[in-house]
C-alpha cells in the first residue's frame, strides 16, 4: 500500500475512533450526533462485509468443487443450499414460510444437535484433562465442576438428608464466593486488556486495516 493511502486510512480510523469514544464520556450534542452517524455507517459497512464474506465462502467452496478436493461433495451441498436460500430469500423475503421451513427443520436441529454433542465433548474433555495434566489446578477444576454438577442435580432440591444439605451449601459457597471472586478478577483484567487494545487502535499503533 502506498504511503498516501495509508495515511488516509489511519486518519479516518483514528478520527472515527476518537469521536465514538468521546461520545461515551462527553454529553455534547454535536459529538453525540457525529457518533450516531458513524455507528450507522459502521452497521451498513458491516452488512456489506457480511455479503463480501458470503462471496468469499462461495469462492473457497467453488475452488474445492472445481479441483475435486477431498470431500468436495459437501462443498457442493453447501453451495447448492446457499444459492437456494439466497434465491428464496430474495424472491419471497426472509419471513416467508418456505424460508422459515428450511431454517426450522434444517438449521435449527443441526445447531441443537451440536449443543448436545458439546455436553458429551465436555465430559470426555474432563477425563482427558485429568489424564493429560495431573496438577493441582486441573484437580481443583474437576473437583469443583463435579461438586457444582452433583449439587445441581434434581434430587438435591427438596431433599432433607444432611449430606445433601451440606453438598448444597458447598456448591453455593463455591459458586457464590470463589467463582464470583475469580470471575470479577478475570473480568477486570479483560476490561483493561480490551481498553488497551482499543487505545492502540485509536493511537494508530494497532492497524488491522493494513499498512
Amino acid at each position: 500500500m502506498k504511503f498516501g493511502s495509508y495515511l488516509i486510512w489511519l486518519t479516518v480510523a483514528v478520527g472515527a475512533g476518537i469521536i465514538v469514544l468521546l461520545g461515551y464520556f462527553v454529553d455534547v450534542q454535536m459529538i453525540l450526533e457525529a457518533r450516531e452517524s458513524l455507528m450507522h455507517w459502521a452497521v451498513i459497512l458491516a452488512a456489506t462485509a457480511v455479503f463480501m464474506g458470503l462471496v468469499n465462502l462461495m469462492m473457497v467452496h467453488w475452488n474445492r468443487i472445481s479441483t475435486q478436493s477431498k470431500d468436495w461433495i459437501f462443498s457442493a451441498i453447501l453451495v447448492v443450499f446457499m444459492l437456494e436460500m439466497l434465491v428464496l430469500g430474495l424472491i419471497f423475503g426472509p419471513d416467508h414460510k418456505l424460508v422459515l421451513f428450511f431454517f426450522t427443520y434444517v438449521q435449527l436441529p443441526v445447531e441443537i444437535s451440536l449443543m448436545a454433542i458439546l455436553a458429551v465433548v465436555l465430559v470426555v474433555a474432563g477425563f482427558q484433562l485429568i489424564r493429560r495434566r495431573r496438577d493441582l489446578l486441573s484437580m481443583a477444576f474437576m473437583g469443583s465442576a463435579l461438586v457444582v454438577l452433583v449439587g445441581t442435580l434434581p434430587w438435591v432440591i427438596g431433599s432433607e438428608s444432611e449430606i445433601v444439605r451440606m453438598l448444597g451449601e458447598l456448591r453455593a459457597w463455591l459458586t457464590q464466593v470463589w467463582a464470583v471472586a475469580g470471575a470479577r478478577g478475570i473480568l477486570l483484567g479483560v476490561a483493561l486488556g480490551a481498553a488497551a487494545t482499543g487505545l492502540r487502535v485509536i493511537m494508530g499503533v494497532d492497524r488491522p486495516y493494513g499498512d
Binding site: M1, L21, Y24, F25, V26, D27, M39, V43, A46, T48, A49, V50, F51, M52, G53, L54, N56, L57, M59, V60, S69, K70, D71, F74, Q107, E111, L114, M115, I117, L118, V121, L122, A125, G126, L129, R132, F141, A183, I186, L188, G189, V190, L192, G193, A194, A195, A196, T197, G198, L199, R200, V201, M203, V205, D206, R207, P208, Y209, G210, D211
Partner: protein, 248 residues
C-alpha cells in the same frame, strides 16, 4: 455539557501511562515473566514450518462492531507474526472468522504481513475466510479446514461462546497443537478443559507483547498491570473503609 470525569480521567491516565512507558522501555527494558502457552506457541509454529504443515488461526465468532471485537483484534496482532514466521513454508497460515468484516481485516493483515516480509506473492485471498455466520455454523465448518489443509497448529484467539469448546475439541482430535484464548469467562473454563494450552483472563491481550510485535504492546501491557494494581488497592481500601464503619 456533562462529562463523565472519572471514566475520562482513567482513560487519560491509561493513555499517558502507555506513552510514558513506551518511552521509558527503550532505556529501561522490563522483562516479561515466562508464559508456557506462548513458549509452546512458538515451538508449534516452528514445527509446522519444518514439517510442511499449516497453522490455522481462528478469530472467533464475534462481530467487529461490538464489545466482542477486542479479542479478535488481539488475534489479528498474532496473525502478522505467524504469517511472517510461516512465509517460507509450502503451506502458509490460514485464518477463519465468523464475521465478514473480521475476515476482510484478516485478509488485509495477511497482505500487509507478506508485503513487509518482501513476499507479496504469497498472499491468497482465500487464506482469510468466513466459515459460517452463526456460532455453530462456523464451528461445523472447522473440521473440513482442519483435515483438508493439514493443520498441525490450531490457534483459537477471538470471541467464542460455548462453541469454542467444540472448536478446540476438533483440533485435539486432529492431534494438532491447540491454543485457546477468549474474553468470555465461562468459555475460558470450557477452553481450559478442551485445549492443550490456554490463555486465561487478559492473557489473550498480552499476545502482541509476548510475540514482540512492538514496544507499544509491551507498554500497554505494563500500563494494564499498573492500572489493575491501582484498582485492586482502591477496592481493598474501600472494603476496609466500609468495614471500619466509614460512609459512602
Amino acid at each position: 455539557m456533562t462529562v463523565d470525569i472519572l471514566g475520562f480521567a482513567i482513560l487519560i491516565i491509561f493513555s499517558i501511562l502507555v506513552v510514558v512507558l513506551s518511552m521509558i522501555s527503550r532505556r529501561l527494558p522490563i522483562e516479561l515473566r515466562s508464559m508456557k502457552a506462548f513458549d509452546e506457541l512458538r515451538k508449534a509454529v516452528e514445527r509446522s514450518v519444518e514439517a510442511g504443515e499449516r497453522v490455522h488461526l481462528s478469530l472467533g465468532t464475534g462481530s467487529l462492531i461490538g464489545a466482542e471485537s477486542a479479542p479478535g483484534l488481539a488475534g489479528l496482532a498474532l496473525l502478522g507474526q505467524v504469517a511472517s514466521a510461516t512465509r517460507m513454508s509450502d503451506k502458509p497460515v490460514v485464518v477463519t472468522a465468523g464475521d465478514g468484516a473480521m475476515a476482510i481485516l484478516a485478509q488485509d493483515s495477511l497482505r500487509s504481513a507478506y508485503q513487509r516480509a518482501g513476499e507479496p506473492r504469497r498472499y491468497e485471498a482465500t487464506a482469510g475466510r468466513v466459515l459460517g455466520l452463526t456460532p455453530f455454523s462456523y464451528t461445523v465448518g472447522l473440521p473440513p479446514v482442519l483435515t483438508t489443509e493439514q493443520i498441525s497448529a490450531h490457534l483459537l484467539l477471538g470471541s467464542f461462546g460455548a462453541e469454542g469448546a467444540l472448536a478446540a475439541h476438533f483440533g485435539d482430535r486432529q492431534e494438532a497443537f491447540v491454543l485457546g484464548g477468549t474474553d468470555d469467562v465461562p468459555s475460558q473454563a470450557l477452553l481450559f478443559a478442551t485445549s492443550k494450552d490456554q490463555l486465561i483472563g487478559e492473557e489473550i491481550f498480552a499476545t502482541g507483547a509476548y510475540l514482540s510485535v512492538g514496544p507499544m504492546y509491551r507498554a500497554s501491557l505494563h500500563a494494564q498491570d499498573l492500572l489493575r494494581a491501582l484498582i485492586v488497592l482502591a477496592v481493598l481500601a474501600g472494603s476496609l473503609w466500609l468495614t471500619l464503619g466509614g460512609g459512602l
